[in-house]
Amino acid sequence: MVKTNKKASAGKRGDSVRSDCYFEIELKSSGGIKLDIKSKVQSMYGESIKEMILDMSKFFGLKDAKILCEDSGALPFVMAARFELAVKRLFPDNKKEYLLPFNKKNLYSTKKDQLRRSRLYLPGNEPKFFVNAGLHSPDGIILDLEDSVAPTEKDAAQLLVRNALRSVDFYNAERMVRINQLPKGLDDLKYIIPHNVNLILVPKCESAEQIQQLEKEVEKLRKQHKVQNPIYFMPIIESALGVIKAFEIASASTNNCALAIGLEDYTADIGTQRTNEGRESIFARQMLINAAKAAGIQAIDTVFSDVSDMEALRQSVLEAKSLGFEGKGCIHPRQIQVVHEAFAPTSEEIEKAKKIVDAFNEAEKKGLGVVSLGSKMIDPPVVKRAQRILSLIKGN
């Protein structure tokens, strides 16, 4: 082990901090491990915190050190991530990973065409939001390593997200991570691929090569860690160039399951302001929908950022749905239900879908090649859409 620093810190401290902790490790030349633990849950978990810190110290080979822990009620997976970070900041070459046992409820995989109506963004370095996010029943939970994480805390978020993927129950939501913009995002992969991530969001995507590069790296790690479950990609288009290249990006990998649009960056890129009406992005959105559908994948809309206005959110989702989008980004759990309701098929749509699917089943039973309803002939994409609508009601 090469010592580069005598002292390092990690995590968060202060009166306003909740469900997090702060570590300071100072290396000494003698005296063994000296612990100074100040915990809000001292009487309940003081002993187990002490045991865990000693165990981690042993694991990382710390022999003589002064360790300060200021704990504001951090759960074990958070504490482990913060401690490991302090160690890694002391010894950047130390490749050991302190992994907590995998939560058995987290071993599920997802399907390429499953419902992705709502995806809830969680800042990757804010553990207090992680644990209960799944209770709000989003279709997907995104642990974000990109824009919501300060540049100086990228290393912290990587470890925290890795631990969360292993320990936090997502309650069957699709387990998504937004990595950093490529190529920097490639460095994030080793923290997520071996830990059963279901889907990777690729921000600011502008070319097919980026997706291919990602695919190569993901495949390498999958083999290395014997990962069986599928891992899907959702490239996010956030620039004028990205919009122009949308189809090429959408069809760059069979692992692509959806194409999403990010309008904050896009509107900045084309030199305008984002409005509620969205006239400035109509071309980009339609282009993206068309590209996604041409490539046979889902088209997913941007986030809705006004968390206080649920009616505007509803209108925005209805508009997105009418354009052909199948999902919307959420930044607050309260938005999820509204999004699901707005994406839900109307009773007329359901009635019609039932009739079409019935006619299809009937035709199939009779061995007919052509499906017809009344005097109208029904094409396979229409049947598929009707089936999808019916599966949506089940999803609700």
């Binding site: 809000k40 001292q42 309940m44 978990y45 009620g73 074990p76 207090k128 607050h332 759990p333 309260r334």
Partner: protein, 518 residues
């Protein structure tokens, strides 16, 4: 101190502060007999015929009232954390060199940490009421001379009525009063809404002092406290900090998890068939219960359901329901925001109540048991549905009981709580302090779903097809222990040293709080 096991299996002392105690015998198992306490006979000829009972200052009033060592002084928590009167009162008591006062507040607030120095120097012997925040810490660390006694609002009235507590001097802070002593809380610069918590004190105390910062000519109408029960009136510059007496405005929680809990509770009331025309519910002013009222209102509007009455803790949210015709009445126990105060003043459907009408154990019935559903909080709940509201899992006293115990008598009691706070599990194997027996608690509503008391087969049946997860409380506890990294250790306490006792609504001792070892 001799401790015995009561009917709830908790260790309780048989004697506290020199008084014999009756251990808890079970819910509805204890009925004292005999006569109620009797206030002394008074004659009007001892009082000024012109009705002017105003004296120069608080010190004069206390002297005239005959304040002596070892007496009991009562105060009330209408002014909440804005209260300057209680602190001023004990400054005077200290100045007079009086010792060993039993302080009998209806509740204490962090502003009363001012009194710690008087607990230390022997001016105050002990507190019977609630020991919140810093006073709770002081008490739990074993620093109080006597043993604290915690009672519910109803239990406070019970103890006055059956003579368990005799009040020598009641000091009532009144936002508006006349020289005769008629008082109200619904107007004046320090308006707090209702001052009903002082009602029993005004009737039973030997001497009653009204302190006001808004003295109006006789008569102060309508009055909440009758001047006929008042001995002296003192005018002061200010009763306290209006901003801390009532919130300018109360707000629902923004926490998504708590909103989810609130939504579940509203959905439960609807699906369990409780929310129907003519129903009633109790809602407090906590962020979660406020949000519950908002969600319930949406459902009531959608289904065109109207309540007969709402018991509260009134806030602007309940006032809106009253004004929109979603309830005939608000039966107000205390008023939490300015909208509540205004409504109480202006709306005949916004009715003043007191612990006597709402909670009293020695009354011929009380309102609490008539309520269809009460939504309450708790610091801990155990797998047998027993609940704690006064201590946290670290063993420290932090909250009072308030009307909580009394409200458990509603037809359906729902505790709306998160399953854990930071890393502190709220669902535990055994509560640190028992405040409410599980047999009175019907539903635990959490962000993970509802736990329904197995005794309530009717509710289990009504909710079996609900979209809300219905969870076995033992399974939920397991899940929480996994999240938090194992079951929490119990606080280290000195089992020889009781620092406070928890009274049940009937005056028996339900549990003890022990000194926490640092």
């Amino acid at each position: 101190m001799k401790l015995i096991k009561n009917a709830a299996g908790r260790l309780v002392p048989t004697e506290v502060n020199g008084l014999q105690q009756i251990p808890f015998k079970g819910v509805n198992k204890y009925k004292p007999t005999g006569l109620k306490a009797k206030p002394k006979i008074k004659t009007c000829i001892d009082y000024p015929t012109d009705g002017n009972k105003v004296v120069k200052d608080l010190k004069t009033a206390l002297k005239k009232a005959g304040l002596k060592d070892g007496m009991t002084i009562s105060t009330h928590h209408h002014l909440r954390n804005g209260d300057a009167v209680t602190n001023m009162l004990f400054d005077v008591v200290k100045e007079m060199g009086i010792k060993n006062i039993r302080w009998f507040p209806s509740a204490s607030f962090p502003v009363h940490s001012h009194l710690i120095k008087y607990l230390e120097d022997g001016t105050i012997h002990h507190i019977e009421g609630s020991m919140n925040g810093p006073l709770g810490k002081f008490t739990t660390e074993g620093k109080m001379k006597g043993v604290g006694v915690l009672r519910s609002h109803g239990g406070r009235y019970q103890s006055i009525q059956d003579g368990e507590v005799h009040i020598d001097i009641a000091v009532i802070a009144a936002p508006t009063a006349d020289p005769f002593g008629n008082s109200t809380g619904d107007r004046g610069k320090s308006a707090c809404g209702l001052i009903g918590f002082a009602l029993g004190d005004s009737e039973y105390a030997d001497k009653v002092i009204v302190v006001t910062d808004n003295l109006v000519p006789f008569p102060c109408v309508p009055w909440q406290i009758q001047g006929n029960n008042v001995d002296y009136v003192v005018e002061v510059e200010t009763l306290g900090d209006p901003a801390k007496i009532v919130s300018g405005t109360t707000e629902v929680t923004k926490s998504p998890d708590r909103l989810l809990i609130a939504e579940y509770v509203a959905q439960f009331l609807d699906e369990a068939g409780i929310m129907k025309n003519g129903f009633s519910f109790q809602a407090g002013a906590g962020g979660t219960t406020l949000a519950f009222a908002v969600y319930l209102k949406e459902r009531m509007k959608k289904k065109n359901v109207k309540a007969r009455f709402i018991r509260g803790g009134s806030t602007k949210y309940l006032v809106q329901m009253l004004e929109e015709g979603l309830t005939d009445y608000i039966l107000d126990g205390q008023t939490f925001d300015l909208e509540g105060v205004r409504s109480m003043r202006e709306n005949a459907g916004h009715v003043n109540t007191s612990p006597f009408t709402s909670y009293n154990f020695h009354g011929k019935g009380n309102f609490a048991s008539i309520v269809d559903a009460a939504v309450l909080g708790a610091t801990e709940v155990d797998v047998n549905f027993n609940a704690n509201v006064v201590t946290h899992s670290d063993g420290y006293l932090l909250h009072g009981i308030g009307g909580w115990q009394n409200c458990l008598y509603s037809k359906c009691t729902i505790l709306a709580i998160p399953t854990f706070r930071d890393r502190i599990p709220v669902i535990v194997d055994e509560v640190t302090t028992l405040c409410g027996p599980g047999e009175l608690i019907d539903v635990i509503a959490t962000e993970r779903g509802l736990c329904i008391n197995p005794k309530r087969k009717d509710l289990l049946k009504a909710m079996k097809d609900s979209s809300i997860p219905i969870i076995d409380i033992k399974e939920l506890k397991k899940e929480i222990d996994i999240i938090c990294g194992g079951a929490p250790a119990k606080p280290k306490v000195n089992k020889e040293k009781v620092v406070a006792i928890i009274k049940w609504v009937d005056g028996t001792v339900l549990d003890s709080v022990f000194q926490v070892e640092k």
